[in-house]
Amino acid sequence: MTAAEAVRRYVFDGATVGMGGQTIGRCAMALIHELVRQKKRNLTLVGCNLSINMDILVGAGLVGRTECGTGNLERFGTTFAWRKAIEEGKLVNEDYSHLGMVTRFLGGEMGLPFMPTRSLLGTDILSKKSATTGKKFEIVANPWDPDDQVALLPSLNPDVAIVHVQKADEEGNLIIEGFLTHEPEMIRSSKSVIASCEEIIPSDEIRKYPERTTIPYVYVHAVVPQPWGAHPTSVYRYYMHDADHLREYQKCAREGGAGFEAYLEKYVYSCSSFDEYLEKIGGLKKFNQLRAEMMRIL
């Protein structure tokens, strides 16, 4: 399936979108660009760390709410569009810790209404002032040991998860290599899943080594073959993040307004597909460099 078709079919205005990747690693940028091109509006974005994948959607004016543990690109700075939208009161964020968010996906993937954690106790993350919904949490005693307390967090079942993985087959079996972050729990908790991938592999290979499958096809609705689909973030074993392009994005996001619009125009709106964008960011020469950087550190 193409990115355009998958996004048209599975992402709707007002959807809660589970965001794959973390900071500068394996963000599903090809699919995110497609959300921007199709102007999917009033989205709620959920994940652990939300990064450039979230920030570009916020900057494009498509996001009403985020629920996450962090918004930033670490060494490359904060998520400027997100930060500005919150400071201007245009976007509501609900804060959890990263374990808090993955705990909510864990509840969701097992069909349970809530899940306990020992994190967050005693802090403002569990206080009325930072609850944007009626009931963000409940502190309860362990029924087997009344002196022991945990916080219950509401489970999360995103309408659609958007991830980028290394390998997939036509059936939708996914292989994620390297770090996994919150993705296994988030993918299994989502009502539909769109996965773009670096390469399509034969189903025979999946069936021959099924222990290597990270996510079986039963959870997955659309597979989109898209080499370099996480650029400018990295894909373990394939390519490093593109520090130059991340800095270019950050400069535009920090500037906001016309600077940000110019970025969107140049790299998203004026491109009919992600392949056109890949030509603009430097094509083969850039790919060879980022691939060589990755090979050096494996």
Binding site: G25, G69, R75, E87, S97
Partner: protein, 259 residues
């Protein structure tokens, strides 16, 4: 002994001294990652590095710019999930040292990395907890590294993202945190402080070389006390600095280029 030592070098080397060989160390992004790398390359070659995106016991290559940087995955024992490292290792209580940075830290060693001002429409929005709340809640010992400025050390954090002793010696226990009396050490460019468990408040244990207690007080937004056994931080050796610059941060990504 080294002739001139920069404050960043001192902060990193001093905080790394708090890591013992063989310990399991959970390091957040930025300076904590650099200091934990320095410990691994110097006195703690057998420490088990844990990074929140999933890497368990990697031999970290110089120098990751993010917890998702593949340089932090090199020759790991396992590349797991966030739930595995933050849940199964950290929350379960298997992590010896949790290593954090911080935007603001108050007299009870609570950390704010979320907002200044109103939550719904803040004056400044910071990135948020990330794994910091989890680390501060569950690690057996907690190390914090940050710059010592008055605005970073308010009497009370406007928003508590990660728990220190909350409001006193029994604060964590009252809140239901199982790990209720951890060692918390804060290393800055001026001093090393730790929580006095009888008051739940930070006190100065060591001064950085050439720094006076008055200087620490002047840069702190609450009355600071000095430990009766207050000493001075040892200067790093030439070899310490060589390891830091050549093996940990050869490109000067965090420490800048050497003169």
């Amino acid at each position: 002994m080294a002739e001139t030592v920069k404050s960043d070098e001192l902060m990193i080397i001093e905080s790394a001294r708090h890591i013992r060989d063989g310990e399991t160390v959970f390091a957040g992004t930025g300076m904590p990652l650099v200091a934990a790398m320095y410990a691994q390359k110097s006195h703690a070659p057998h420490m088990c590095f844990v990074i929140e995106t999933g890497p368990i016991d990697p031999q970290v290559l110089p120098v990751p710019t993010s917890v998702s940087d593949p340089k932090g995955m090199h020759r790991a024992a396992k590349l797991g999930t966030l739930r595995e490292v933050l849940g199964c290792l950290l929350q379960r209580g298997l992590v010896d040292v949790g290593f954090l940075g911080g935007a603001q830290i108050d007299q009870f060693a609570n950390i704010n990395s979320t907002v200044i001002g109103d939550y719904q429409q803040p004056k400044v929005r910071f990135p948020g907890s990330g794994g910091a709340n989890d680390i501060a809640s569950h690690a057996k010992r907690i190390l914090v590294i940050c710059r010592h400025e008055k605005r970073r050390f308010p009497e009370k954090c406007a928003y508590i993202t990660s728990p220190g002793y909350i409001d006193g010696p029994e604060g964590r226990k009252r809140a239901g945190i199982k790990n209720d009396r951890p060692d918390i050490t804060v290393v800055t460019d001026l001093a090393v402080m730790s929580v006095d468990k009888s008051t739940g408040k930070l006190q100065v244990l060591k001064l950085m070389p050439g720094v006076s207690f008055e200087q620490v007080q002047a840069n702190t937004g609450f009355p600071m006390t000095a430990s009766p056994h207050m000493t001075t931080v040892d200067l790093p050796t030439e070899e310490n600095l060589r390891v830091l610059h050549q093996e940990v941060d050869p490109e000067g990504e965090y420490l800048g280029k050497e003169d």
